[in-house]
């Protein structure tokens, strides 16, 4: 095959774990891809491509505890499916209008905000932005690792995270205004 997948599955242990993931999650991944793509062939391509990305980043994935793997895998297949959808439709990536570009707030900004306020503000963000924040700050992936995991450019990841932080700050401020 010229698409030399050539993943970093370097041991039998990796191979077994990868196969286990494949058998466990492939139906769920397919269903999710199909929900976005509404086409069987494209959905299978999305699942396959997602597994190629998983194989390429297997060292990182191995370090994630099993119960926490599902969101990670969902994010990958969702983003791959969206990329295919956009490619098929020649549609630009969903672009949030941020007028008068703001400097994103430092992450420490959120340290003094209580859980309920944070959760309700985070829930107002479109899912792709929550996913970007989750991968960066919960899974602690670098922008390069996120880029490799979900198949978009490093610059695209940076922009997405910056936008997410700006939008979250706005949501928190608006929530705060409402409470006053």
């Amino acid at each position: 095959m010229l698409y030399l997948y050539l993943s970093a599955l370097t041991s039998d242990e990796d191979k077994d774990m990868f196969e286990e993931l494949y058998l466990k999650y492939r139906q769920m991944m397919y269903s999710l891809a199909y929900k976005i793509l509404n086409n069987s062939e494209d959905s299978e391509d999305a699942v396959h491509h997602a597994f190629v990305l998983i194989a390429d980043n297997f060292k990182k994935i191995k370090s994630i505890p099993c119960p926490e793997l599902k969101p990670y895998i969902v994010i990958i297949v969702r983003n791959v499916s969206i990329n295919i959808y956009n490619r098929n439709k020649r549609k630009a990536e969903h672009n949030i209008d941020i007028e008068n570009y703001e400097v994103p707030v430092e992450i420490e900004f959120y340290e003094n905000i209580d859980y309920d306020n944070l959760l309700s503000s985070i829930n107002t963000l479109p899912l792709i932005y929550r996913e970007a924040l989750y991968l960066r700050y919960v899974r602690e992936l670098t922008t390069k690792e996120i880029s490799e995991a979900i198949g978009i450019s490093v610059e695209g990841v940076r922009k997405r995270i910056d936008r997410a932080r700006i939008m979250l700050k706005r949501a928190l401020e608006e929530g705060g205004d409402e409470n006053e």
């Binding site: 095959m1 010229l2 698409y3 030399l4 997948y5 050539l6 993943s7 599955l9 370097t10 041991s11 990796d14 191979k15 990868f18 494949y22 492939r26 139906q27 769920m28 397919y30 269903s31 999710l32 199909y34 929900k35 062939e41 299978e44 699942v47 396959h48 491509h49 597994f51 190629v52 990305l53 194989a55 390429d56 599902k70 969101p71 969902v74 969702r78 990329n83 295919i84 956009n86 490619r87 098929n88 020649r90 992450i107 959120y110 340290e111 905000i113 209580d114 859980y115 944070l118 959760l119 985070i122 829930n123 899912l127 929550r130 989750y134 700050y137 919960v138 490799e148 198949g151 450019s153």
Partner: protein, 223 residues
């Protein structure tokens, strides 16, 4: 990092995904998918270069000179699809999917083995992957890499990196085939001998690669 922030993000994501994931597990995956996954699972070698993960980042500059001259039919604005010299080719931005367009009177699986007979004694076999549908051997000497593939025609469905490539017609032992130089400076030759599809690709240089391709011969019958 603030624990509230992490917890709120995690809870938000999990709640969303619980609603998002459909409760279905009845899809029967296609043989094409199963085959690709089997290869992926069994693949444990490091890449020579990575050809995947390049979705739509750049507009490909693909000039199919020969094919265009043969008056192609553009069936979609998204992809060029055409037939050429026994091949069905679908050209995307970053790659082309090539299939056999002539699957009559050929074996469904690999029944006869073909190998390169050109002297590669100073190369080492870096990678081998054989199954009933495809055979793949990669040879290496220093930074020179030669990959040889024999595909059964009915299952031949391969994505090639043709980003910035120009696909041309070429003859291998008087059989017309396809040639292109990819954007990693690997030359590719693809031809159909009537029974099987062959592909050799390498950074050894085009002239040398043609000699290697012309040396491909039937070796033995598989029992």
């Amino acid at each position: 990092m603030n624990d509230n922030f992490k917890k709120a993000l995690t809870d938000s994501i999990n709640a969303e995904f619980n609603d998002l994931i459909p409760e279905t597990d009845s899809h029967t995956f296609s043989p094409r998918f199963e085959k690709k996954m089997k290869k992926l699972i069994n693949q444990r070698k490091k890449p020579y270069y990575k050809l995947i993960n390049t979705f739509g980042k750049r507009v490909a500059c693909i000039t199919l000179t020969i094919i265009v001259a043969s008056s192609i039919t553009v069936m979609s604005s998204e992809a060029l699809r055409t037939r050429f010299k026994g091949f069905f080719i679908q050209i995307e931005n970053t790659h082309s999917t090539i299939k056999s367009d002539d699957k009559a009177n050929c074996p469904d699986t690999i029944e006869e083995i073909y190998e390169i007979t050109y002297d590669l004694s100073d190369f080492t076999v870096e990678f081998e992957d054989y199954d009933e549908y495809d055979r793949h051997t990669t040879y290496k000497k220093g930074n020179i890499i030669i990959s040889f593939y024999q595909h059964s025609k009915p299952s031949y469905d391969v994505d090639y990196n043709t980003e910035d490539a120009e696909i041309q017609e070429i003859e291998i032992n008087e059989i017309k085939g396809l040639y292109f130089l990819d954007n990693k400076n690997y030359d590719h030759l693809i031809w159909d001998n009537g029974d099987y599809i062959f592909n050799v690709n390498s950074n050894i240089g085009k002239d040398e690669l043609i000699k290697i391709a012309e040396s491909v011969q039937k070796i033995e019958s598989e029992q």
